[in-house]
Amino acid sequence: TSYAADTKINVGALRFTSHAASFVAFERGYFKDEGLDVEFKFFQAAQPMAVAVASKDVDYAVTAISGGLISLAEKGAAKVIGGALMEDPAIDGQKILVSDAAFKDGMTEPSKLDGRSFAMTQSGSSFHYMGAKIAAKEGIAVSFKPLQKVGAIIGALKSGQVDAWSIVPHIAKPLDGSGAVHIIGNVADYIPDYQVTVVFTSADKAANDRDTSLAFLRAFSKGADDFNAALVDKTAGDEAAEEMVKLVHKYVYTDRPYEKAAPSIRNGAMRISPNAALNTASVQDQLDWFKSEKLVKDSVTIDTLVDSSYAN
């Protein structure tokens, strides 16, 4: 393919290991192979990224399903076209954490969290969903504390001001290691096959630019396959794993030396859905939960949110 023919697209990303599939596809030329000239747009948080897709500043992005994303879909501005990060019972996934104080207080497993506080960034965030599902399954009640920023949550957890939280492993494990926080369970035990993040684009692009969208998903899947093989299933060998960590380190923890960054990157490796397959059942469950909490309008259906023509 000639460069002139390349379609320019903007891809939104956070500097998290969970976005590695895009980085791999870029670095290894999979996007180029599909005739896509990708430029990354980096964000500090997922919510503005969703808005940026709606405003067409960004063409494709990966994020957790949140109330904001559903709301934008309801306004006819965004559509989910594929799956990304997912919980896999066989793989180390998101962890349930408690503060040291709570741990010492006997909260050594999720069932003992009754009446305790559970941290989240905002109402309608994935943390809110996880906490609610865990509580429902254990038949307990927790109170949710919106703290907006991951940093604020970590601070609150370390100083024992909130009792519990759930978070991706690369953040959970170092915290557990520091002794100020303890891991007491896995999210996967409560929400099996949880579709944590999804690939989405503007409704307009999903409907009218199928070729590009499909090309993006193909390249993204190849990146995901490489990543899964190197760091999740670890079938590609140590050398490939090392190489993968180096590749990801170009984007994540860039200001830390490689030696410090590598463990965090390895810890953060969760499965990325092969072929960008979307677990529609999980999405439906999340949507139903958002509706039941009155965080999104009742009129939203799965077809409002997902362009099922991509689901494979």
């Binding site: 919510q47 969703a50 808005v51 709606a54 405003s55 949140s66 109330g67 904001g68 709301s71 934008l72 306004k75 501005a77 960034t121 905002q122 109402s123 309608g124 965030s125 949710f144 504390k145 919106p146 703290l147 907006q148 920023k149 940093g151 604020a152 970590i154 601070g155 609150a156 370390k158 100083s159 001001q161 909130v162 965080l295 999104v296």
Partner: protein, 269 residues
């Protein structure tokens, strides 16, 4: 007195004064609001303004009425007002106290003014993670954030006001052998009051602005929390309801200070 010629050209003196004096025309402000909102209503209804850009004003109003009728308005408004009152009281009273000390004592001035100048441009949201550790996630941290935000502008306004107290009045006090304490209490403080009050206007506007930042810290209820949730859900109607409430709150606070000024400073020319 000599005689004036009667037969000459006569012409009245040209008028060249007037202007440069603002006149009050209250209705124009209302007209501007009505036209603006009417225009947006029309634009959003016809789709000329997309529903991603702005909400439909009448929907915003309906959302507000809902909020009111559900009783949630007060559930959000009261904690926010409480936080404003407590936080601003702490920040303002500390600020006035320190400001007066800076104004009165050269040593304190030399020590604290650079510190205040260094603290001034620090964005409060940057410190949110620290505030969680320092003050927890309950009301204390919200009070602390608002207090911190109102403190620096109040200090600056207060010591400026003390500096501006007419020195001739202080010299008068000394010439009548008033005690140092009498001079401070009866001359310096009342003389600094106009400056302190106009500083308060800014401090309280900042307090309202900081409400959103303060309620980032684990607030379930509160106008700031309401706005944040609406923002994260991209629910424009509720976002605008929240913003409008803050704006009205700001206007009321400003009117309130106006009333206090009228009362307290009726001695001003």
């Amino acid at each position: 007195m000599s005689e004036i010629r009667q037969d000459s050209t006569r012409k009245t003196v040209d008028f060249r004064g007037g202007g440069f004096a603002p006149q009050s025309r209250k209705w124009v402000g209302i007209v501007v609001f009505v036209v603006l909102i009417g225009f947006i209503e029309l634009g959003t209804r016809t789709g000329f303004i997309t529903n991603l850009t702005l909400p439909i004003p009448s929907d915003v109003f309906a959302t507000f009425v809902d909020l009111w009728q559900s009783g949630l308005l007060w559930k959000h408004l009261l904690p926010s007002i409480m936080r404003l009152i407590v936080g601003a009281s702490i920040g303002v009273s500390l600020g006035i106290g320190i400001g007066i000390l800076i104004g009165l004592f050269s040593l304190i001035r030399a020590g604290l003014v650079p510190l205040v100048a260094a603290i001034f441009p620090i964005p409060k949201i940057a410190l949110l993670p620290l505030f969680v550790i320092w003050f927890g996630i309950d009301e204390t941290s919200k009070y602390a954030l608002i207090a911190f935000g109102t403190f620096t502008p109040t200090v600056v306004a207060t010591y400026g006001a003390v500096d501006n107290v007419d020195r001739s009045l202080i010299r008068m006090g000394q010439s009548f052998s008033l005690s140092w304490f009498s001079i401070v209490r009866k001359i310096v403080l009342p003389g600094a009051m106009p400056g302190i009050l106009s500083g308060l206007r800014i401090s309280l506007a900042i307090a309202i602005i900081l409400l959103v930042a303060a309620e980032m810290l684990g607030a379930e209820f509160g106008i700031g929390a309401y706005i944040l949730e609406a923002g994260s859900l991209y629910d424009l109607e509720r976002l605008f309801v929240g913003v409008t409430i803050l704006s009205i709150l700001g206007v009321f606070v400003s009117l309130g200070i106006g009333v206090i000024e009228k009362r307290l400073l009726n001695w001003r020319v």
